[in-house]
Amino acid sequence: MARVSSTAKVELRGVKKRFGRKVVLDGLDLTIEPGQSLVVIGGSGTGKSVMIKCVLGILRPEAGEIYVDGMEATRLRGRGRDAFLRKFGMLFQGAALFDSLFVWENVAFGLIQGRGMQRSKARDIAMEKLAKVGLSAEVGELCPAELSGGMQKRVGLARAIAADPEIIFFDEPTTGLDPIMADVINNLIVDTVRGTGTTTLSITHDLVSARKIADRIAMLYKGKIIWEGPTAEIDHSGNPYVDQFIHGRAEGPIKMEVKA
C-alpha cells in the first residue's frame, strides 16, 4: 500500500479527528520538507498535541492520510510500524518519563529496547545526550520523580534525540523553563537540526522560541492550518488571526471559549 506522493518528509492530508462530538482536527493539511524546522503555533486546546499523536499513530484519525517519506502511515501495524516509529523522536508536553527507571535508562530506552543496543554502550550515549541538555552524570543516576519539572523536560528532550532520529517532534520544548535554559534548549534544537539534516516539528506558544528555531511557521486554528509561511513573514502575514496571536491581544477574530 506504499504510495509515493511527493518529496515531503511528513505530509498530512485532510486529517480529521474528533472526540465524541468535539471536532478537534477538521481536515488538516500540513507539509514538512526534509531537513526543515516547522513550528506550529496556536491557542491552547486547538489540537496541536492531538495532531502530533495522529502522525505517530497514538491516536487514529477518522479521515485523511498521513505520509512519511511518501509512505502512508495510518494503517501500519507490527514490524512495519516499529520501523516507522524508529524514524521518530518525540518530546512529550509533560515529559512522560518512565518513573520506574533511572534517568539514564529513560534516555537509553529507545536504544536498548527499540534498537537492541548493549546497555553499557547505550549508557554512554545517554550520558552524552544528558550533558547536551545541561544535565550532569549524577542526574543520570536519579529517578525522574527526584527532578524538577524543567529538568524532567530536559531529560525528555535527551530521550527524544538519543537515537539520532530522522524526524523529531517537540511538544512545547521550552514551556516551564527559565528564559536562559529556554535559550539553551532553543540552541540545542537549532544545532540538532542544522548539523544533521533532521526534520523537526515543534509546537510552542513561545514566540521567541518559535522565531529562533523555525524555518517556517504554521498556525492552527479551529482544526485547520489557517496560515503558513517563512519565519520572517510572520510579522506581516496580513492574517488577522496570526496578528492577534503574535501580539497576544484578547480582542480580535479569535474568541477564547471562556463562558461567563
Partner: protein, 259 residues
C-alpha cells in the same frame, strides 16, 4: 423517545467495551508468541506478584484451614463422623479454599497495584511514550505481568495448601482433641494427585484473570487521579467476581470429568 435512546446508547457502549476487551485480551495472549519476550521483566513481576504476596496468602490460608476444621467438626460430630475432619479439610483446602482464598487475596493486592501503576502510566502519557520508542506496550507491560501471574499463582496456592492443611492440623490438635500423628496419617492417606492438580489449574486461571483485569483497567483509565482510582476499584471488583465465577465453572468441569 429519550428512554429508548438511552437504552440504545447503553447497549452500544456495552458492546464497544466488550469488543475493546476482546481485542485487548487477544493481543495480550498472542503477545507471548511474538518476539521479543522480556524475561527480566517477567522475573521482576514474579517477585512482585508471587513473592511479596506470600505473607498475606500464608496468613489467610492458615486461619482459613483452622476455622474450616472447627466448623467441619461441628457438622461431623452430629453424625459421629469426627474421623473425617482431616479428609474434608484436605479436600476443601486443596480443591476450593486454597485457590479461591489465595486468588481473592492476590486480586486485592495485585490487580489493584497493576491497575494503579498502568493507569498512572496511561494518564502521564508514559504508555504513549513507549509506543514512540518503538516498544509495544502490550508486550512490555501486559505480557510480563500475565505470564508472571500464571506462573506465580499455582506456586502460591501450593504453599497456601500446605499452610492451610497445617492450620487445620493446629486447630484440630489444639482445640478438638485430635492426636497429631493420627490426624497426619489420615491426611496423608487421603492425599490425592487430582485434588492437588485441580486446585493448581484453577490457580493458573485466576492468575491470568487478575493480571489481565489489572492491566485492562489500567490501560484504559482516563481523567487523572480520579480515573486511576476508579480503574483500581474496577480491576479488583471485576477480577474477584470473575475468579468466583470461573471457580464455579471449573469445578463443574472437573466434576463432569470426575477429575
Amino acid at each position: 423517545m429519550n428512554f429508548f435512546a438511552s437504552i440504545g446508547r447503553t447497549t452500544l457502549d456495552l458492546l464497544r467495551e466488550i469488543g475493546r476487551f476482546n481485542i485487548f485480551a487477544i493481543e495480550s495472549v498472542s503477545g507471548i508468541v511474538r518476539p521479543p519476550i522480556f524475561w527480566p521483566l517477567i522475573l521482576k513481576q514474579i517477585m512482585r506478584i508471587g513473592f511479596y504476596s506470600l505473607p498475606v496468602v500464608g496468613l489467610t490460608a492458615f486461619f482459613t484451614g483452622g476455622v474450616l476444621a472447627l466448623q467441619i467438626y461441628i457438622g461431623a460430630a452430629r453424625y459421629g463422623a469426627e474421623q473425617f475432619v482431616p479428609v474434608v479439610v484436605l479436600v476443601g483446602i486443596l480443591r476450593e479454599l486454597g485457590p479461591v482464598i489465595a486468588g481473592l487475596m492476590v486480586a486485592g493486592r495485585v490487580a489493584a497495584a497493576i491497575a494503579a501503576e498502568l493507569g498512572t502510566m496511561r494518564v502521564t502519557e508514559q504508555i504513549d511514550a513507549l509506543t514512540t520508542l518503538a516498544t509495544d506496550p502490550i508486550k512490555y507491560l501486559v505480557v510480563p505481568r500475565w505470564v508472571a501471574a500464571v506462573i506465580s499463582l499455582p506456586i502460591l496456592v501450593f504453599i497456601a495448601d500446605v499452610i492451610g492443611v497445617f492450620g487445620g492440623y493446629v486447630a484440630s490438635t489444639q482445640s478438638l482433641g485430635f492426636t497429631g500423628s493420627i490426624y497426619l496419617n489420615n491426611t496423608m492417606n487421603a492425599l490425592n494427585n487430582h485434588d492437588i492438580a485441580s486446585g493448581l489449574i484453577k490457580a493458573a486461571f485466576f492468575g491470568f484473570i487478575i493480571a489481565l483485569m489489572g492491566c485492562y483497567y489500567g490501560f484504559h483509565s482516563k481523567g487523572g487521579a480520579q480515573g486511576v482510582g476508579s480503574a483500581t476499584t474496577s480491576a479488583v471488583v471485576t477480577s474477584s467476581i470473575l475468579i468466583l465465577a470461573t471457580n464455579y465453572i471449573l469445578t463443574n468441569i472437573f466434576n463432569f470429568f470426575s477429575f
